[in-house]
Amino acid sequence: MSKTLFEKIWDSHVVVDEGNGRSLLYVDRHLVHEVTSPQAFDGLRLNGRKVRRTDLTFATMDHNVPTSNRSLPILDQTSAMQVKALERNCKEFGITLFDIDSPDQGIVHVIGPELGITLPGTTIVCGDSHTSTHGAFGALAFGIGTSDVEHVLATQCIWMEKPKTFEIRVEGKRRNPHAVTAKDIMLSIIKKLGTAGGTGAMFEYRGEAIEDMTMEQRMTICNMSIEGGARAGLVAPDEKTFDYLRGRRYLPDNYEKLVDYWRENLKTDANATFDRSFTLQAGEIAPQVSWGTNPAMTVDVTERVPFPEEYAKGNLEEEKAAAKALQYMGLKAGTPVMEIRIDRVFIGSCTNSRLEDLIEASRVVKGKKVSEGVRAMVVPGSQHVKKQAEDLGLDRIFKDAGFEWRESGCSMCLGMNPDILAAGERCASTSNRNFEGRQGAGGRTHLVSPVMAAAAAIAGHFVDVRDMDLS
């Protein structure tokens, strides 16, 4: 019988099939971070349980670590307590931890692939919704709550209702791949499908534009599957995938044998059918800027901030939400996006903090200065990304232009550490969520690509990067 890639991975991980659509799935890799794990470890202790597979469990601290000088203690006592709790828990239960001083530390979804923990055809979970990122490697990867973190620690398995399959086809080629990025494609998809479009489903991204992408671009795409409502997004692995991983630290010893198997098997069969399908043309996509308080509230950079009724297309609930979003964002409907002035720029997060993101952004910045009154920062996704960028001299380019160059972590994507917006501040951000207060109470977030964020930092307002020479 013909199967989709998702169905193949699902079927090969079923431990118990209840026969009613619900199955117990085996988890190949479990990633753990400091914010969503303390209560899970407490639960194990309370019930006298152990971690079943310490060798498949990897932890790091990323959400509330400071991105300033690492030799100083963490000032926020509650953050320090959470970081200490993770250290204590990993030691007690025997789990590998990449701690704040480790050269491998970084955002959990950046270091998984970097260290070869992420593999095609595997199931990967983490107490974080952006676990979908790892789907770029053809892994079935999704976020879970803390109760499920405890469940996976104790049993290495997870119960799931079988989700629907949803094909997202991105056909053709991007007109200007330096200016129209993976981020713009993903924001366009979410804009069209809505933030609940993928609820109950897993996306599989296909088509020429996806095949043309580098691994890091595919990670940006899969990362934001959750913003489209899908718990996971997949891309079938290819030679780029296998090359990207080759030589990385935690690969199994028989990696090449596995590659041979994956090459033959990890793809959707020709006659397989999806429950739903959606297609867009890469050539029609422009750089995107979000204007509201959820990622579907997004327009082309050349457009104007929409009127609520124009955005809602007859849905009264959405119209109310859009009016409220405009009020929160301090924007007037009809304002050209390129006239929106910004106060802050954040280049980072599990969506856009990898080496390619920084290289692309640095091209815009090189030899220029951050606009007066704008505060801009770059937060590399991991210590490895930071080091590679510094070896290329990117830190100098950013610093010379007036950017802050930081240590790795989640930082201002969610502002659990000291990196936050003040009320009313407007930020061009390469992160994934523009929810109210996400980057700081009263802060106003515009989601953009790294090149769009860099260009906004220099101009002081949004600009169309297609007008720049980015080659």
Partner: protein, 196 residues
């Protein structure tokens, strides 16, 4: 986990679409390392002004809805972050039932794991509930919602119904499958990471 039977209470109408977990519990409150005490921070920025005084216009602050155990929400409730703190905050505040047209997947699971019943209903039923003034009864055993002029059945996955009715420990139930798990593991060793 407290077993769930019947809940009867006034229903709090939260008339907003796409409510994300960042609104349900803002990030500054995710630093606690226990599961209790999150209720005071529920919908923090919507409930309180920056000086800490309650926002009178926000529905949860209305005297009529104090002690309510049922929350009515618009489409796509609980989207965004996987933080289970959102479920802990709702429970700690006193909500045992949330009724909406749809929920985000991770949040939906997190509710059941903590003894909260999330119910999906059609748009017309939800609208009727939003308009009702009196108490609403949610009867899990019979999968029914009853109120003034309302008597409808709802769907729920049988597994979750059982978990809620009996207040079961999920992990203990899974560990009954030890043999199957071990068998799976011994036949899939080739995917193990290199130990270092």
């Amino acid at each position: 986990m407290e077993p769930f039977t019947k809940i009867r209470s006034i229903a709090t109408p939260l008339d907003k679409v796409n409510v994300d977990t960042d609104q349900i519990i803002p990030k500054q409150f995710l630093k606690l390392i226990q599961k209790t005490g999150f209720g005071q921070y529920l919908f923090f920025d919507w409930r309180f002004q920056s000086d800490g005084t309650p926002r009178k216009e926000f529905v949860l602050n209305h005297p009529k809805y104090q002690g309510s155990k049922i929350l009515l929400a618009r489409n796509n409730f609980g989207c965004g972050s996987s933080r289970e703190h959102a479920a802990w905050a709702l429970l700690d505040f006193g909500f045992r039932v949330i009724i909406s047209t749809s929920f985000a997947d991770i949040f939906y699971n997190n509710c059941f794991k903590n003894g909260i019943l999330p119910i999906r209903v059609g748009e017309q039923v939800l609208q009727k509930l939003f308009e009702t003034d009196g108490e609403v009864e949610v009867d899990l055993q019979n999968q029914a919602i009853r109120g003034d002029g309302i008597d409808v059945r709802f769907e729920i996955e049988p597994h979750w119904k059982k978990i809620l009715l009996e207040g079961l420990d999920d992990i203990a139930a899974t560990l009954l499958h030890q043999d199957e798990i071990s068998r799976y593991e011994s036949s899939h060793r080739d995917m193990n990471p290199k130990s270092s």
